[in-house]
Amino acid sequence: MADLQVNVAGVSFHNPLIAASGTFGFGREYAEFYPLSTLGGISSKGITLKARPGNPAPRIAEAPGGMLNAVGLQNPGVDHFIEQDLPWLREQGTRIIANIAGNTPEDYCAMAEKLNDTDVDMIELNISCPNVKQGGVQFGTTCAGVSGITKAVRAHCKKPLMVKLSPNVTDISEMALAAESEGADAISMINTLTGMRIDIRTRRPIIHNNTGGFSGPALLPIAVRMVWQTYQKVKIPIVGLGGISTWQDAVEMLLAGATALQIGTVLFTDPYAPVKILEGLTKFMDENGIRSLSELTGAVQAW
């Protein structure tokens, strides 16, 4: 049978599907559908140094092909995560990635230090949250910003370090290069595209934050393009995400250059999506004689 295992920066995942940060909380809710070991890994809700209440409601809007959110990094803070959530998560038989966001390099470094002494498998540097001024996006949209924050955190971080990139930039592959050159072990891409919906009756933005991050199926072609562009430039592995909803989407993302995958919004449409995607992937591999998923990574033949 097909081997779904993948290896990202020395961390092996028993399958390539990782729950995307912010769409899966700390796993407790989806554990009521299936064992979390169904997934190769879980990226935690974005964590900050101190607890954050998040943005006022409404935080959600729908749009054709996806949705907008501006949750605003509501979370109980890194200490609470380490004490209350991580021990339970650790027992679920899946890889745990801590997604961290901050306002200053010091924030990020302090969190990395705290996480060094835990058994999280990987740290995901969220420098692309578009929904709070203090969410790190100021680091994520210039090469200098990406270099600076990666370098700073790298010096304090003993865990494999993955940098999550924002698609709201002119050339995302430049950001990836910047992260790689400062010692990132992997890239995850993409975060949400900033969008806005307006209620034409009230003339108010539907989301209280005015703008929100667009995610969901419509993101796929953008993400595939960006992964493909970046795969040609960097040597570190890419975890591809953005709009993956079906096993076919997953294959597309792998062919574009992803080593592993994250899925987010599709969980809201269908909580069982991971199960279906994994079934489809396995069948596809068996039917096509693909022994290891790594055969697919970057295997697109450009014209």
Binding site: T23, F33, P53, G54, E62, V71, F268
Partner: protein
């Protein structure tokens, strides 16, 4: 495993008022565990987000759930097009429902499309329930007969006086002194009802709405400001901490 998604066949369908639909679906597993005031998250083909709809009534014996919903946008318009025999993809039962203690006397206050979530709970109380429900006009009155059939004391108000009392639903409850008050409807109504309950020292539960993604507490999308034990404000979530809340916990 607490949560599940099932394909549920529609076994009854009616349009019970302008743009208001009444669906009964076969869902034995859900009906066995659902509580009045909980909700379902219903998939609308082609749309990313499910639509939250309250469980209006639960029939354990026949293994069915009832939903009453109004067309308010594209998603509910699509739902309204489903026919008997079609299946709905439903995630349920979700959230916390109303406290049900049928020994006590209860007052149910509902406004417009806030009325359906009350029916299931009111049925438990039967003759011990007073039900005060308000609507825009005669053409929008729904479920009054269902509450009556359950033995409740039913009072109806309409904004334009075309049916029942001409005025607000809160006008109809001044004389009632129940042990518990359960309400669902527009924010202004909920505020008035909660104030009335507070004045008269009545325990009050209100059902809230917020835009949702996951429906189970994972995405933190459906935020609502709540008071904690110390009176500090924090962000709770309608889908998991609610949709039914003790009124005094909600920043109204």
């Amino acid at each position: 495993m607490k949560y599940d998604v099932q394909l549920c066949e529609i076994v009854r369908r009616a349009e019970i008022a302008d743009d208001t639909y009444d669906f009964t679906v076969q869902a034995p597993a859900f009906a066995a565990v659902a509580k009045p005031g909980q909700f379902a998250h219903i998939y609308v083909p082609g749309r990313t987000l499910r639509r939250p709809i309250s469980i209006c009534d639960i029939d354990r014996e026949n293994g069915t759930l009832r939903f009453v919903f109004q067309i308010r946008g594209a998603g509910t318009a699509d739902l309204a097009n489903f026919e008997v025999g079609d299946t709905l993809d439903i995630l349920a039962p979700l959230g916390r429902g109303f406290t049900v203690d049928p020994e006590k006397k209860a007052l149910f206050v509902g406004g417009g499309i806030g009325v359906p979530p009350l029916l299931g709970a009111a049925k438990y109380y039967g003759q011990n329930a007073t039900v005060a429900i308000g609507f825009r006009d005669k053409n929008h009155v729904i479920l009054a007969e269902d509450f009556k059939a359950a033995g409740c004391d039913v009072r109806v108000a309409t904004d334009d006086g075309s049916f029942g009392h001409h005025g607000l639903v809160v006008d109809l409850i001044r004389d009632v002194r129940p042990d518990i008050l359960c309400a669902c409807g527009p924010m202004v109504m909920l505020r008035a009802v909660a104030a009335f309950a507070k004045e008269n020292n009545i325990r009050c539960e209100i059902s809230l709405e917020e835009r949702m993604a996951c429906g189970i507490g994972a995405c933190l999308g459906c935020a609502v400001e709540l008071y904690d034990e110390n009176g500090e404000i924090y962000m709770g979530h309608v889908c998991k901490d609610g949709p039914v809340f003790a009124a005094e916990r909600v920043v109204l």
